[in-house]
């Protein structure tokens, strides 16, 4: 390739195509390099992409129809006290309550390959060029500046900026001298099994909830160096995904025989865990087994967390920048957020003809100011869980599970969430109704088993009069919310003066009030259960039958 590009994006996983699309849309000549034969061939994940990735992430994903497998309304935590006796405790407080579940979702479960392919199509539609089966093995350097990449075929492809979205191993970043090999303490190795299962069984056994198991080491469900969790199981459409992960090293320098151990833990769980043994095992058929390492503990180390993510002419995003979350083990939202920021900085840099590291520092400053990225890479809860497990302290274990994966997460998530919400509403006051439409549209896509219902489903002329009326009402309400928020925007200053300081102390407020609020909340939920269920059926019916156009932006 003799052409010169404005931007080369290395890696077409979750983050790369987002950066490529934004750059291409801004008129930059953009090339995406992907080492696998087909996009998504080598991306292995869970995967629940949390709702905040969709709400605060790229517009084309929020307003589009990405391929999701199932909405997820939260997590059910099983604390395995004695696997032999079936002594198990449950914490399922982190679930979106009825009547909102599963329309308002905690996240969306997805397979990586169709999702990344969808993103890449959007980037290509916007004008980016995709080059597959090509590994970037080094960067072109001229006077300290990165000026493109060198491929495994020996090609030298030049560009003004390289956005490195190569994922967690960061081999190119190491070559370029921005990173060193991460220490094994920061890496978790995840052993993953994919099972086929009839949809009706997945519906019955899992519904919309991810299941997670926790326990003492001797229960042999949690790998010995795991930071707490024994396993996670994600329900998909006609399948389920099972994952155990294990840190490559904690304090011990000795690495145990993982091949033997993972097998042992897997068979222990599948043969002894009551819900797996009785419900899943007879109905599930193993379809695939694979594994990958991910660097979810990078952020725990302040020094690593503060490493620069750029040099002259090159920016790291997503996993390549170490932006995996220690709090929930999710990395897709941070990959999307950082891709957007990087693309916008790259566009500015190219327009001002300044790709120096001094200019690109803007990117790092924005990453450091991003409330959700910073929250997600610095949470210590999984370390705390490990300590509780080691000490066999059930009280602590309960507390940390509740803090990390139960309602207690509100005590550290409220401030970053609210800050993001405010800044997005300030930028675009109609965003709230876009979010509502997104939730409804995603549910409709899931329900009609199609990633883009509008191309398959004919508009339902036959919707009943009652539904038509509801559609009209719904549209009117959304317009009302929009105009209300627009008028609020005019009072932005006043809003910031009151709301910003308030959002800063939200976490503390939650810490203080949650012990009182939580029992009241569960009591009210129980009390309202019959009404919520009825309302839930009504809402679902409306979303299932309404004309899809009302859920478009």
């Amino acid at each position: 390739m003799d052409e010169e590009f404005d931007v080369i994006v290395v890696g077409a996983g979750f983050g790369g195509p987002v950066a490529a699309r934004i750059c291409a849309k801004a008129g930059l000549k953009t090339l995406m390099i992907e080492r696998s034969e087909n996009v998504g061939d080598k991306v292995i994940s869970g995967l629940t992409i949390p709702f905040y990735g969709f709400l605060f992430g790229p517009e084309f994903i929020r307003d589009g129809n990405p391929p999701i497998e199932r909405p997820s309304d939260g997590i059910i935590n099983y604390i395995i006290k004695d696997i032999e006796k079936g002594d198990i405790e449950i914490d399922d407080s982190l679930r979106v309550p009825k009547p909102f579940s599963p329309i308002i979702a905690f996240g969306y479960n997805a397979y990586c390959k169709p999702f990344c392919e969808w993103e890449v199509r959007k980037a290509v539609d916007a004008g980016a060029i995709l080059k597959k089966s090509t590994t970037a093995i080094d960067v072109i350097r001229e006077d300290k500046y990165v000026k493109g990449i060198i491929t495994d075929k020996g090609e030298r492809i030049r560009s003004k900026i390289v956005i490195d979205a190569e994922g967690s191993k960061g081999l190119l970043a190491v070559k370029a001298g921005i990173r060193e090999k991460y220490r094994p303490e920061t890496i978790s190795l995840a052993d993953t099994y994919d099972y086929v299962m009839l949809k009706e069984y997945v519906d019955k056994i899992f519904g919309y909830s991810v299941k997670m198991c926790w326990g003492w080491d001797e229960q042999r469900i949690a790998p010995p160096l795991g930071y707490g969790n024994g396993l996670m199981v994600w329900p998909y459409r006609n399948s389920i995904h099972f994952m155990q992960d294990q840190c490559l090293r904690i304090n011990e320098s000795h690495i145990p025989n993982l091949n033997k151990l993972f097998k042992e833990y897997h068979s222990n769980i599948t043969q002894k865990l009551p819900w797996w043994k009785n419900l899943v095992e007879p109905r599930a058929k193993l379809r695939a087994r694979m594994w990958d390492g991910f660097e979810i503990y990078v952020g725990l180390n302040k020094e690593l967390r503060n490493m620069p993510n750029h040099i002259d002419g090159m920016i790291l995003i997503g996993d390549a920048a170490g932006l995996e979350s220690t709090e929930l083990c999710d990395g897709v939202p941070a990959a999307w957020f950082s891709a957007e920021i990087a693309a916008n900085v790259a566009i500015d840099a190219i327009h001002t003809n300044n790709t120096s590291k001094l200019f690109l520092k803007k990117y790092d400053r924005k990453i450091k100011r991003h409330p959700i990225i910073q929250w997600s890479i610095s949470g210590r809860n999984r370390f705390n869980l490990r300590t509780a497990q080691k000490e066999h302290d059930l009280k602590k274990l309960r507390k940390y599970i509740h803090n990390g994966w139960g309602l207690g997460s509100l005590t550290h998530f409220m401030t970053p969430f609210f800050k993001m919400l405010l800044s997005d509403v300030n930028k675009d006051p109609t965003i709230i109704t876009k979010w509502i439409k997104m939730f409804f549209r995603y549910y409709q896509n899931w329900f009609y088993e199609s990633y883009d219902y509008s191309s398959i489903r004919k508009f339902r002329e036959a919707t009943s009069k009652k539904l038509k009326k509801m559609e009209m009402k719904f549209t009117r309400y959304l317009r009302l919310i929009d105009s209300l928020l627009k008028s609020l925007k005019k009072r932005k200053k006043l809003l910031s003066a009151i709301v910003v300081p308030f959002s800063n102390s939200l976490n503390n407020l939650m810490k203080k009030t949650l012990p009182i609020f939580e029992p009241i909340y569960s009591f009210i939920l129980k009390l309202l259960n019959p009404i919520s269920n009825r309302l839930n059926i009504k809402i679902l019916k409306f979303v299932e039958y309404a004309n899809p156009s009302v859920f478009h932006t």
Binding site: V43, Y111, I137, R249, N259, R289
Partner: protein, 89 residues
């Protein structure tokens, strides 16, 4: 050409990767870390040094590279378009 293995369903390996993991024998101290961490049994110890037995089932997770504190493992990617792939990740 594509390889599959019964013990790893749902995964295929496209041939032509080249020797993408190598061991620097001078640096290797035979600590067994790479042998223990590898779920695809790619390594063996011969005369107190690690050796790549076979990369045919390697899933390119790089765990061997991370745990080698002597930096004896040279880890690169297989040639573009080759190596493991799966629909179900």
């Amino acid at each position: 050409m594509v390889r599959t293995f019964k013990e790893f369903p749902g995964v295929e390996w496209v041939e032509g990767t080249g020797d993408f993991i190598k061991i620097n024998e001078e640096k290797c101290i035979g600590c067994m870390n790479c042998v223990n961490v590898c779920l695809a049994s790619c390594f063996e110890i011969v005369e107190q040094k690690a050796r790549v037995k076979s990369l045919e089932k390697c899933m390119e997770c790089a765990s061997c590279w991370y745990v080698c504190h002597e930096d004896a493992i040279i880890f690169t990617w297989p040639l573009g378009g080759t190596g493991y792939k799966s629909e179900w990740g």
